[in-house]
């Protein structure tokens, strides 16, 4: 397998809300490699979203280091983290996070306008099979379509890494598969490192690696020598 894109070293994360301290991550060591599709599996509260937020520079670890291609993200300023997200990371969320006042094309253009070497919004939407819905507003699209717009928006900047937090969580099985297909194709065609969080074990079939999390720790790692396209996945 190719070189590591992310090095995660002894990362912990503690949240303090009022008088309560919550240990969300209790020492994570992990590497993510060029071109791989990793699925993080775990129950809610297992720390997978926290880890993903730290990888995506949305949050800082309480201790430990996160290196992206040799650069330690933990030492970077707020502005540098913003630049990191802008240049390298694509996000896909459970609730799509589309801007309701912008059409599909405009939601993608939102990102391509600030990216370094983006693809055209139309091309990105074409990749997720929405070439014919580009002028629709989010409210005029189904959930699956909205999520595919979100994926198009995430990939349009040609990110180094695609981070997906429960991308099918709000979708039914059939629609979810179309979304997973889009992610699978992007990973395969563009070679983007893709990390996907889910509590849906069925999805592990499409991954190169499956990392199981529980109680803020990595509790198991499985390599999948022959990942399956999502077409056959059902839940």
């Amino acid at each position: 397998m190719a070189g590591a894109v992310f090095h995660v070293q002894s990362v912990t994360k503690t949240y303090t809300t009022g008088a309560v301290e919550v240990l969300a991550l209790r020492g994570i060591d992990l590497e993510l490699y060029e071109g791989e599709l990793v699925v993080f599996l775990g129950a809610s509260g297992s720390g997978k979203s926290t880890l993903l937020n730290i990888l995506g520079a949305l949050d800082r670890p309480s201790s430990g280091h996160v290196l992206f291609r040799g650069t330690d993200l933990t030492g970077l300023s707020e502005a540098a983290l913003t630049a990191f997200r802008r240049d390298h990371v694509g996000f896909v969320f459970q609730f799509y996070n589309l801007v309701p006042s912008l059409t599909a094309r405009e939601n993608v253009a939102l990102v391509t306008e600030i990216a370094r070497a983006p693809m055209r919004p139309e091309e990105a939407l074409d990749r997720v099979g929405l070439a014919n819905r580009i002028d629709h507003f989010p409210a005029e699209l189904s959930g699956g379509e909205q999520q595919r717009v979100a994926i198009a928006r995430a990939i349009a900047k040609r990110p180094d890494v695609l981070l997906c937090d429960e991308p099918t969580g709000a979708l039914d099985s059939k629609t979810g598969v179309t979304v997973l297909e889009a992610l699978y194709d992007v990973n395969r065609d563009l070679g983007t490192v893709t990390a996907l969080i889910t509590h849906n074990a069925a999805i592990r079939q499409m991954a190169n690696r499956v990392i199981r999390m529980g109680d803020g720790r990595i509790v198991g790692v499985e390599d999948n020598a022959a990942p399956q396209p999502p077409t056959g996945i059902e839940w």
Binding site: S49, T50, N53, G56, L58, D59, A79, T82, A83, R85, R86, D87, V89, F91, F93, F95, N97, V99, P100, S101, L102, T103, E106, N107, A109, L110, V111, E113, I114, D135, F137, P138, A139, R153, D165
Partner: protein
């Protein structure tokens, strides 16, 4: 306390910044209402009480010389209760240590002691003893400004003779609550005062022994004033009567009344603007709150609360805000009212001030304040009552956008997507955008209308001092003199140019309309005094006919070409019919102009002068003043440069104070509107804006979406505010113009610029204040929340 009421208090505490912003706007309206009506009421009560206690006359008249026996005839006029005849004259004073001659109005005191009408109120010392010829009482403000106290002496030039007069007491008089010298615009306590003197020496000095030249009347209840005036005019006509008039033309009362009218207008025009804006703000904020609290409303309803109870809950919340605003307004209004009444005491001299804002103004402003807020809340509250519990617990439907004309326009411009978000948000909620725009426009209108008054004063000053009266000094002559007097005056020290002038009182009549004014002869080759056309350009007075000021022409319903009847109220006392040749612009006073040859031809007399306009070398003023003090023919002096200087000083002193007060009002409206709009935006879009941060947008780029929309609306509001401001100014110009002064509708670019800038900067500050909250939203948590 019920749990729901506890929630109410906590909601208020949580929303404190927004609640305070609304309360401040509302408070401004309440404050202005309490302040203006309170001050107006206090001054009216003080005036009424003072007029009553001092037996202030109701009809006044001057004549040249009327025999004392006429008083009995005057007293027999039906409707007359009391008559006070006296000797009045203007004299020059020579005060120790004062280069410039001061002048005074001398009034005689009856031989019996205190007058029955227009009784002076003693403030210090006593009135002159009957029989004492050199004792005088002085108007208090003049004595104070000149450091004269009872027991001290000063010199006056009486009938050409220098006489030493001893001060026995200081007094205030209902006739001189606002005391200004002839031709002056503002009180000048150092150079103009009133002297009360025993009748014998006064009459002797005026050459009026056994006669009088000034009469005041008090009327019985139900008397018909115009009838009394007409009868008095008939009686005085043979003795040089210059036209009787009521309190409505008594100069001190005219100024005081016009001030009271302005306060009244302020109370009528300003508060509704603030109350309406506050109502809209409550509507906006409560609407949003209820939307956010849908699940809670659903829960409450599911638990058995009625729609009515929930409506009352939110109504109470808005009333809480209103009560805060009303209390703030009351407090500040009461305090400012006292300050303002005190400020009036500087210009208007009452022996006492009754500060009685009256519970009515508090009650009215309280009811209006709470009423406005309740009205504003009604729509949102009704919506809360109508929510079905099942729907209430579901999140509201996502906003639905449609492509519109704006999109086609924007695509052509290739705008950035963040800009598109701004435009779409405005077109999606046009009502809310309109409230924001109108709110800011209201603030700008208030600012323009407030600052306009300064432009207007500037224009009046410019017209009075630069365009029409270009002389340095005007000398008032004791009596009419041949035109050759001008040549004598040219020999006074430092005099560079002399122009004679002549004026006499007249009554103009056209149909039912009639006005008491004076006519002035405009000599050929006159360059010091000029007449301005309606457009402001210098006008040559036509050889025949009258030139009327616009205001007077309107009052008499006259247009150029019409004929008007002019009764001369001085010899030869003819009644003439004359054409109106032109209409002119004149902001101060209502003097009619006529070509000098035409007037003297009509009067069948040789050209005369009773005033001299001079240009004087400023370096030789001391010598000039000394010569004037010794000149027997001069009884009045008007120093135009001094008047201007004094006017500028007073205006500058007040301008800063006013600008600060008005700016605060404008800032409070703008901040109230923009802050609330920004908070609502933020609460609606926090999720969307956090998403942008996640996508790699910088804080500045995300802030642009929030700040950009509100600043765009502010910019849109500016021209609208200018338009509104022009409208308000026009209302003020029309409403506040009086016989004393016409308020021209002049608004400078500076006024527009300052008003726009104040609104823009305060809007920006308010949005930036809210934008800072955006930084506090942690990205990870923002993504977890889903409305």
């Amino acid at each position: 306390m019920r749990a729901l009421d506890r929630k109410l208090l906590r909601d208020l505490r949580r929303l404190w910044a927004q609640a305070l912003a609304i309360a401040l706007v509302l408070g401004c309206g309440v404050m202005v209402l309490v302040l203006a009506t309170g001050t107006e009421r206090s001054l009216r009560m003080t005036r009424a009480s003072y007029y009553d206690r001092s037996h202030f006359a109701e009809v006044f008249a001057q004549a040249t010389r009327a025999p004392k026996g006429l008083v009995t005839d005057i007293a027999r006029i039906p409707g007359v209760a009391q008559v006070e005849a006296r000797v009045a004259m203007t004299v020059l004073l020579d005060l120790p240590g004062m280069l410039r001659p001061a002048q005074a109005r001398v009034l005689s005191l009856p031989a019996t002691g205190a007058p029955v009408l227009n009784r002076p109120t003693l403030r210090l010392g006593r009135l002159p003893d009957p029989g004492q010829t050199d004792e005088v009482a002085l108007s208090e403000n003049f004595a104070e400004a000149s450091n004269l106290r009872p027991g001290m002496s000063f010199a006056a030039i009486l009938n050409g003779q220098r006489r030493d007069l001893r001060v026995t007491g200081l007094v205030l008089s209902p006739e001189f609550i606002y005391l200004i010298g002839p031709g002056a615009l503002l009180p000048d306590d150092r150079h103009f005062g009133v002297i009360w003197m025993n009748e014998d020496p006064a009459a002797a000095a005026a050459g009026l022994t056994g006669a009088f030249n000034d009469v005041s009347l008090r009327l019985v209840r139900g008397a018909v004033e115009p009838a009394v005036i007409a009868a008095l005019d008939r009686l005085l006509a043979p003795y040089g009567g210059a036209g009787a008039y009521g309190r409505d033309r008594q100069i001190s009362d005219v100024f005081l009344s016009s001030e009271l009218d302005q306060l009244h207008a302020m109370a009528v025009i300003l508060p509704p603007i603030f109350l309406i804006v506050a109502a809209f703000l409550v509507n906006m904020v409560l609407g949003r709150l209820i939307l956010l609290e849908r699940p809670i409303i659903g829960l409450l309803k599911a638990s058995g609360f009625t729609g009515r109870e929930i409506a009352v809950h939110y109504l109470k919340l808005s009333i809480g805000i209103a009560v805060l605003g009303v209390l703030l307004g009351w407090g500040v209004g009461w305090w400012l009212g006292q300050q303002m009444t005190g400020l009036y005491a500087q210009f208007y001299r009452f022996p006492y001030l009754i500060y009685a804002p009256g519970s009515a103004s508090f009650a009215l402003s309280g009811v209006m304040g709470i009423g406005a807020v309740v009205l504003g809340a009604l729509r949102a509250v009704r919506a809360s009552a109508r929510l079905a519990p099942a729907t209430a617990m579901l999140p509201p439907a996502p906003p639905f956008y449609r492509r519109s004309l704006i999109d086609r326009l924007a695509e052509g411009l290739r705008l950035r997507q963040t800009t598109m978000m701004i435009l779409r948000s405005i077109t999606r909620w046009p009502g809310r955008a309109a409230v924001t725009v109108l709110g800011v426009a209201a603030a700008i209108s208030v600012l323009v209308a407030c600052f306009f008054t300064f432009d207007s004063i500037d224009a009046v000053i410019d017209e009075a001092f630069t365009l029409t009266n270009r002389q340095h000094v005007t000398l008032q002559l004791t009596r009419n003199a041949p035109a050759s007097v001008a040549e004598d005056a040219a020999h006074l020290p430092g005099v560079m140019r002399v122009e004679g002038a002549f004026g006499l009182p007249v009554r103009l009549t056209h149909g039912w309309h009639s006005a008491l004014t004076s006519v002035e002869a405009q000599g050929q080759g006159t360059i010091l005094t000029r007449v301005l056309g309606e457009g402001g350009q210098p006008l040559v007075v036509p050889p025949e006919g009258l030139v009327l000021p616009e205001t007077l022409a309107r009052k008499l319903d006259l247009r150029a070409g019409d004929r008007v009847t002019m009764a001369l109220l001085a010899p030869p006392r003819d009644t003439l019919s004359l054409p109106v040749a032109r209409i002119m612009r004149q902001s101060l006073g209502e003097t009619v102009q006529i070509a000098s040859p035409a007037l003297f031809r009509l009067m069948r007399e040789a050209p005369q002068v009773n005033r001299l306009n001079l240009l004087v070398d400023p370096r030789q003023l001391p010598a000039f003043y000394a010569a004037v003090k010794a000149a027997p023919a001069v009884d009045g002096i008007l120093l135009w440069t001094e008047v201007r200087k004094q006017f500028d000083e007073t205006i500058n002193e007040n301008i800063l104070r006013s600008v600060i007060v008005y700016a605060i009002l404008g800032i409070l409206i703008t901040v109230g509107v923009i802050y609330n709009a920004a908070r609502i935006q933020l609460s609606e879009r926090a999720y969307e804006l956090a998403s942008l941060r996640v996508l790699g947008f910088t804080r500045a780029e995300v802030g642009y979406v929030l700040v950009g929309e509100l600043m765009l609306l502010t910019v849109l509001a500016i021209p609208l505010g200018f338009l509104g401001g022009y409208g308000f100014s026009a209302l003020i110009s029309a409403g506040f113009s009086s016989e004393v002064v016409r308020i021209p509708l002049v608004i400078t670019r500076r006024t527009y610029a300052i008003a726009g800038l104040i609104a823009f900067v305060s809007a920006l500050a308010a949005t930036l204040l809210v934008r800072r909250r955006l930084d506090r939203v942690t990205l990870a948590t923002a993504l977890k929340q889903r409305e």
